[in-house]
Amino acid sequence: MTNQKTIAVAMSGGVDSSTVAAMLRAEGHNVIGLTMQLWNQRRMAGREGMPEQVTGRCCSLDDVYDARRVAEHIGIPYYVVNHEERFERDVVRPFVAEYLSGRTPIPCSLCNNHLKFDQLHVVAQQIGADCVATGHYARVEYDDASARWLLKRPADRSKDQTYFLFGLTQEQLGRTLFPLGGMTKPEVRELARKQGLALAEKPDSQEICFVPGGDYKRFIDAYLAESGEALPDTAGELVTANGEVIGEHTGIHNFTVGQRKGLGVATGSPLYVIQINGADKQVVVGSDEHLYSRTLQAGRVNLISVDDLREPMRVSVKIRHRHEPASAMLEKVGDDEVLVTFDQPQRAITPGQAAVFYDEGVVVGGGWIA
């Protein structure tokens, strides 16, 4: 074939990335499979109430085994590259620190920014690959008019992962392929079956890869205990929006905005966490209507489809992964800070999560909710 490239495929051992490797191989490219070893899943096993049995999806030996089997089946070279140190520094530590300061982090975005589209691109270049392909559901296209790489929502909106990819730079996008962007998940599974991949029926991974079972509170306890650090005392007062103290709480990292259960107070009407005040260790509670807000500020903004926001822009904004983008005005208020004003108030805008801005199916950019 004329267009043959050397492509590194980030293989997680799941259906999506395995299918990407098989597709690109079938297209005649020179494919190299890479799995990033990011976290030792056995590290926390059995500690501080963490499960003894490790069933974590990413980086478990089972997933490396599955990825290796796929590579062998389709006939490509395959390597595991170890980036545990970087992952701990750039993803796990910030994850713990965010919770301890009363925010609700998204480790997957940090991993994409610092590991999958940074370190893995470095490895790919080192070993002579032209670009890196992943199994994300997203599209990347070059736009001649703006001379920019665009990140677009995929054909299968139910699998859309652009929310986690808003931090990609132009340089990173220019070296990235998302071969599944035009496909639906059932089509991907069908292709996996046609390619004879044994893991075509493997279930999707849902949870945070380094938090087996999804219990992040236990993970934080276990992680700090293992590092020999005491869990900081973040216990404090439970207050109403008017500042009235109505109880005590065990630590701000146990709460997230919008949470209703586990507040430890009983009142006539349902109460929700509406704000977490890290500096005062206060958890502010209120009724459902208090959860709604029309504005948010986001920092550490990365812009993709435009190089700057010279004037306010009409966009749709997603404030969490499972959120239908809502119409809003986007305006620049600082160097890499923006103000988002929604047409309709939005429920549970959560500091630490990302706000990602869309213009139809195109990702304008995104930032971290302050």
Binding site: I32, Q37, L61, V64, R68, P77, Y79, V80, V81, N82, V122, V123, Q125, Q126, I127, G128, D130, C131, E171, G174, R175
Partner: protein
């Protein structure tokens, strides 16, 4: 693509003569060596011939050879089999994981373990071993040759200390067997482990020398095989292969094969150092086995080097192979005081009997250009990452 294999410290190809010697024992001669009948007698004779050959290689009596499944079993049998709760054990910080993790296990179950350090060349100071002795010291376990650097430890000096102190001495000779002559009397060891697949016999067979009179608790319980030191039906084809490999190793020493190998290794080492700046040999200044050179190349990642070279057909390694295939910084190089970035920038080249001068020349054509390309991409080499 022509493939060149320079990772013989990980494993070696079975030599054709070894395979030929083994072949009848997969079919024609299939008996259980413990059986009374003709079939058993045939394989028993083959096992005992192999035992003679291994005994000759090690300079011991045949009755002192216990066949095992490999180096890890031998190391575990020696360490667990010679110690009990309350005992003190001396080992080094650069041992193979088969020894280190076995020591960690007994440390957790009632023994006390001292890990003596190494100097910048990777050498244990025998005086450190002497100073570590205690009244309850039961075992000293110091390797003969290091798997990552090839550095040969002063095992004879340590053997003398062990004899004086009346302490058992085990040496992991997995990376020495077949590469340098071994004489258990000269070393003064009581137990010595070797592995078949590091010396052109198959994977899954090894041997442990156990000096007569040394009381060893078995790891396995079962039949009275191997004089009740290792229960389990013998791996006859493997044992026959190990015996043949031992014979070939002895012939090799007579033909100066070890000297020829060190000439090839030196050609590789000198070729690399002549063509690549900011590179040096780990373990330089210490005596090494003739097949190994471990080099760091500043400003690169050994991991990227190994993958890049593999994609071009040259198989080398960053250090000890790990079960997940993931690559971690070498505890051996760190123990030698190497900076962490240099430990990560280190690559091991290890030759086998099958390698030729042509292999070395091809490796020498690939290594400098690969280092140069990786350095182009390295921020610490004074350049930014280029866009492809």
């Amino acid at each position: 693509m022509r493939r060149i294999y320079l990772d013989n410290n990980a494993t070696t190809p079975v030599l054709p003569e070894v395979l030929e010697a083994m072949r009848p024992y997969f079919g024609e001669h299939f008996g259980n060596a413990s059986s009374i009948h003709h079939h058993g007698q045939e394989t028993r004779a083959a096992v005992e011939r192999a035992r003679d050959s291994v005994a000759s290689l090690l300079g011991c009596r045949p009755a002192e050879v216990v066949f095992t499944s490999g180096g890890t079993e031998g190391d575990n049998l020696a360490i667990a089999g010679l110690t009990g709760a309350g005992d003190h054990v001396i080992t080094s910080s650069v041992e193979h994981h088969a020894v280190l993790h076995a020591c960690k296990h007994i440390d957790e179950t009632g023994c006390d373990v001292t890990y003596v350090p190494v100097d910048g060349r990777g050498l244990v100071d025998p005086d450190d071993v002497r100073r570590a002795l205690r009244s309850n010291t039961k075992l000293i376990s110091i390797m003969m040759a290091n798997n990552e650097t090839g550095v040969l430890q002063p095992v004879e000096d340590i053997g003398k200390i062990a004899v004086e102190a009346d302490v058992n001495f085990h040496t992991d000779a997995v990376q020495a067997a077949g590469k340098v002559p071994i004489d258990v009397k000269q070393i003064g060891c009581d137990v010595l482990s070797i592995s078949g697949h590091k010396m052109h016999a198959p994977q899954g067979v090894g041997a442990l020398f156990v000096r007569r009179g040394t009381r060893l608790q078995p790891l396995f319980y079962g039949g009275r095989h191997e004089r009740s030191r290792r229960a389990g039906t013998e791996n006859v084809p493997g044992i026959v292969g190990l015996g043949k490999a031992a014979e070939l190793a002895m012939q090799g020493f007579e033909n100066d094969d070890d000297k020829k190998m060190s000439t090839l290794r030196d050609r590789l080492q000198q070729g690399i150092l002549a063509q690549v700046e900011e590179a040096a040999v780990n373990g330089d200044g210490a005596a090494r086995v003739p097949n190994t050179v471990n080099t760091y190349f500043d400003h690169i990642e050994g991991e990227a080097m190994v993958i890049s070279l593999d994609l071009k057909g040259l198989a080398v390694s960053t250090g000890a192979a790990c079960s997940a295939g993931a690559i971690e910084p070498s505890h051996v190089l760190l123990a030698m005081g190497l900076r962490a970035d240099r430990a990560r920038a280190s690559v091991r080249f290890s030759l086998g009997k099958q390698n030729t001068a042509e292999d070395i020349d091809l490796a020498l054509a690939l290594v400098p250009e690969t280092v140069a390309r990786l350095r182009e991409l390295s921020p610490s080499y004074g350049k930014t990452v280029v866009n492809s």
